[in-house]
């Protein structure tokens, strides 16, 4: 459809000529109410000059009905009585626009979700409600005035929060497309959790081997400004124009001067738990997270540092890079889009006391096992058990720890990767110790991805891993710190009591601990499971409901590496699509100050949750920043002088709906 040359001029003085279109929506509406009667009813309403009904108004034919009536000059307001505006409001608005009618002279009456779908067995009731909705929509349509969308420019730059595999992939794609990227990572190195993994399923690629080239790419990419050991502390603005404040945490080591030689580590007298090694090994107060870290410079953990001064000695740090007086630096940048790629935290199984984590030394998490298997981990890839540092002859894994758990202290969802990572770790251990016995206690084995089922089959056939279908009830340790397991082999209905040397909990993935902070910082929502919420679970998996902000990777929900990378690329593509357009349309539902009524009390300014109201010191009145305004209506209701008006939801418009809803009695079906 092409846009009509002839634009229909409508002002406050123009007499409204309303066209009402009642949609059958197949049997969704027509199967419950008499749509012909509704059409006739619409014609009885004042200012309605024509009414039609059609099977599917959203179809090309349906849309054409409206287009033709507008182009013929018959109508200057359109009401479609159909589904929820969330479905097709944009569709019908576009029809109006292309036919030459301002798209905001359109109103949709929801007679499906709000009438027929919720009253499927009560045709009379549904009909009355449908009439009410049409009557209200017509009343509003009568009062509608033309509005113009705002176009705002979009900064061709993107802020990516999180430097793991998702963040890095988005960054590289966007950088290659020519956009400037700020990649903010709060630990001293990029790489994320993937750097802690040993091998990856099902290909058994070494994780570090596939990720380090990416890390190097990120460091080398000119368009990427890499900000490690930094955090986003403030985000203001709106789509295309976000104003972000980033805090660069003090390394206490001059990152330019530091050569990464590591001479400072040995003489440092302070040892603390190593987060990268998940408590299995220590690190010094001055440290680098792992050998292949990018950037490769050192950081001092000032909370543990005792400022003894040894590392600052010239015979220790030759480049003289130590700076005890380092301070945080704040950087303000303007970006057009933001991608949240904050990843996950492992589930802490301590509350599940029946599994003994934290109480019995030979109970560890699979994540810790990953470090034991890693060639640059605390045991250089030769796993041993904590109590006696001997290689275990028998190992048991328990699946679904903290996942698929409908009680307090766990998560209801399935973490999606644990069946595969347990199979992988089991296989790795069997490769190193073919004589060992490895058991995996499971409820279901979820091997859904490409190559996964084959991997699982091979684990049984070729590696002799024992899969036992039965979730472990409790464990305890014997006097040699072996772990005694109680489970039921549900497939033969027999209780099992099994003693193993090492017990591994396949823990699930959770949203990061400060997800709520990120949520409020960026005004994005989280779902019930704690992960960030996508705009639509099927059709918009990398968008959020906040324009310009996208999500990728496990930040959006547990997933494996292939899906994470796919989403990262998807988020980059969505962000690029926005930035490539150079400008974006914002709906004109913003608030407007009636200058002559404003008393300058600033109540509105103090209440605005989006900081969209400024105060003009000269004129002593409030001023609304229409781009920042999200049309929430708070200021409108609060203004004591009635000086605030909201586009498309003016008092007159709202009053007309309310009055018509309550005053006119409803008409019976058929009348």
């Amino acid at each position: 459809m092409t846009e009509s040359e002839k634009k229909i001029k409508v002002t406050r003085k123009t007499r409204p000529k309303i066209g009402v279109y009642v949609c059958h929506c197949g049997i969704n509406i027509a199967g419950v109410v008499d749509v012909y009667a509704l059409k006739d009813y619409a014609l009885t309403l004042p200012d309605v000059v024509l009414a039609r009904e059609y099977k599917f108004m959203c179809s090309d034919n349906g849309q054409n009905l409206i287009k033709e009536d507008i182009e013929a000059g018959l109508i200057n307001r359109v009401v479609v009585a159909a589904c929820s505006p969330r479905m097709h409001e944009p569709t019908f608005r576009l029809v109006c626009k292309e036919a030459g009618l301002n798209q905001f002279l359109f109103e949709q009456a929801n007679i499906r979700e709000h009438a027929t779908w919720v009253n499927m067995n009560d045709t009379e009731g549904a009909y009355q409600i449908a009439q009410d909705h049409i009557r209200m929509a017509v009343a509003k349509a009568r009062t509608l005035l033309p509005l113009e969308v705002q176009k705002v420019s979009v900064e061709p730059s993107c802020l990516i929060i999180g430097g793991g595999i998702a963040g890095m992939n988005s960054a590289i794609d966007l950088a290659k497309e020519g956009y400037k990227v700020y990649l903010v990572e709060r630990t001293p190195t990029i790489g994320g959790h993937m750097a802690q993994l040993d091998k990856t399923f099902p290909t058994m690629d070494c994780s570090a081997c596939i990720i380090t080239p990416r890390m190097v790419d990120v460091a080398r990419e000119k368009n990427i400004e890499l900000l490690t050991y930094s955090e986003v502390v403030d985000v203001a603005g709106y789509v295309g124009n976000f104003e972000v404040t980033i805090m660069k945490k003090p390394h206490y080591v001059d990152q330019e001067a530091c050569t990464g030689c590591g001479a400072c580590v040995e003489p440092c007298p302070v040892s603390v738990g190593n987060e990268f090694e998940l408590g299995l090994a220590p690190r010094k107060a001055i440290y680098i997270p792992f050998p292949q870290a990018v950037p490769g410079e050192y950081t001092i953990d000032m909370e543990s540092c005792i400022q003894c001064g040894i590392c600052a000695r010239p015979d220790v740090c030759e480049p003289d890079a130590i700076r005890y007086d380092d301070k945080p630096e704040y950087l303000k940048v303007k970006v057009g889009t933001i991608i949240i790629a904050t990843g996950w935290d492992p589930y802490d199984p301590t509350p599940l006391k029946q599994y003994g984590y934290g109480r019995y030394p030979n109970v560890i998490t699979a994540f810790q096992m990953e470090r034991l298997l890693s060639s640059y981990g605390p045991v250089l890839g030769k796993p041993v058990r904590p109590s006696d540092l001997k290689a275990p002859h028998s190992i048991a894994f328990l699946q679904c720890v903290g996942s698929r758990y409908f009680r307090e202290g766990g998560n209801k969802y399935c973490s999606r990767v644990c069946c595969m990572y347990a199979t992988k770790q089991a296989r790795q251990y069997k490769e190193k110790h073919p004589e060992s016995e490895v058991y995996i206690f499971y409820i279901d084995i979820r091997a859904f991805g490409r190559g996964y089922e084959e991997f699982y089959e091979s684990a049984s056939e070729n590696y002799g891993i024992n899969y036992i279908r039965g979730r472990i009830g409790e464990v305890w340790e014997d006097k040699d710190h072996n772990i005694v397991i109680r489970a039921e082999d549900t497939l033969i209905q027999t209780p099992i009591e099994l003693t193993v040397d090492l017990f591994i909990l396949s823990i699930g993935l959770e949203a990061v601990a400060d997800a709520d902070k990120i949520s409020s910082l960026l005004s994005v929502q989280r779902s019930e499971d704690g992960f960030f919420m996508e705009a639509h679970p099927k059709l918009r998996p990398v968008d959020t409901l906040t324009d310009g902000i996208f999500i990728a990777g496990v930040a959006q929900g547990p997933k494996d590496i292939p899906d994470t990378v796919a989403q990262a690329k998807g988020a980059a593509s969505s962000a690029a699509a926005l930035m490539a357009q150079g400008e974006v349309e914002i709906e004109p539902y913003y608030a407007v100050v009636l200058d002559h009524l404003c008393s300058g009390c600033r109540t509105c300014q103090s209440l605005c949750p989006f900081g969209a109201i400024d105060f003009d010191e000269f004129k002593k009145i409030a001023v609304v920043n229409s781009a920042l305004c999200k049309g929430c209506g708070t200021c409108v209701s609060a203004c004591p002088s009635g000086a605030m008006v909201q586009n498309h939801f003016t008092n007159i418009q709202l009053d007309s709906i309310i009055n018509i809803a309550v005053k006119q009695p409803t008409v019976k079906n058929g009348q």
């Binding site: 006391k353 029946q354 307090e408 305890w476």
Partner: protein, 320 residues
Amino acid sequence: MVNKVSEQKDWRYAFFLGCVIPNRYPMIERSIRDVFEELGAELLDMPGASCCPAPGVFRGFHIPTWFVIAARNIAIAEDLGVSLITGCNGCYGTLRDAWWDLEHNSEEKKHVNKLLAKVGKKYTGNFEPKHVMQALYLDMGKEYVRGFIKHKFKDLKVAVHYGCHIVKPSDKRPWDGEYENPTFLDEIVELTGATSIDYKEKFMCCGAGGAVRTAVKEVAADFTREKLVNMREAGADIIINCCPFCHLQLDLGQVEVNNFYKDIIGEPFHIPVIYITQLLGVAMGMDPSRLGLVKNHNLKGVSPFIPIQPFLDIVKEQLI
């Protein structure tokens, strides 16, 4: 959670006796009455109270009967204007669960009150049913009780047995959801100077409850056998419990284990079984005769079935 607890600043409780305490182990009743008196609490009798009714058997037979008889018992205490306490895990399981369920199900509560009205009784749910351990540990508190300890054991190894219904279902109990590793009974035991030893499967069921003992004695006895083996292996001098049915199962049951399972247990067991208030009482300097520890009769075939003399000897030796 509905928690309409009566303000018991002066610790007045209605004493719900149940069946096993008054009718098979009256020494436990004696020790509870006297220890609570020493601690400054008043125990009121509940005239006409019946079986709670027992959760494994009677709730298993007919849940509606269980509800109405339990509510009737609670109503007797409510009539006295106080919370009831019981020294039995089974009665606690019934009375507390019934209270909880009725407070969360207004339909059932209405129905039960309709029946109770026919006998002139009313259940309001305003007084939470409590266990003796709840009164000691939560109402009075460890520090308060510690103030009454006059003598301490020097070397007494106690196998503490909690039983099941005092901590589970944990959502209906006052222990903050703790059921895998509670410590309140160990803490009260250790106030007396005794050591609560760790033993394998410390929190395992004794086997009596849930209608098992009344169904097949040998099955219940096998649970008990396992517990006794573990307690003996850990070097227990005595067993302490807070439930008369567990007490019975560990005491009379110990004799049954020695009989049924003599081929696999090696030496017969003879570990004295003592109720918590009996232990507490001796440490509080009370005369053992006030605690049901002294035999004043020549009756045959009555409790205790495992001689408690070894315990009395330790009391004589270690407590002045």
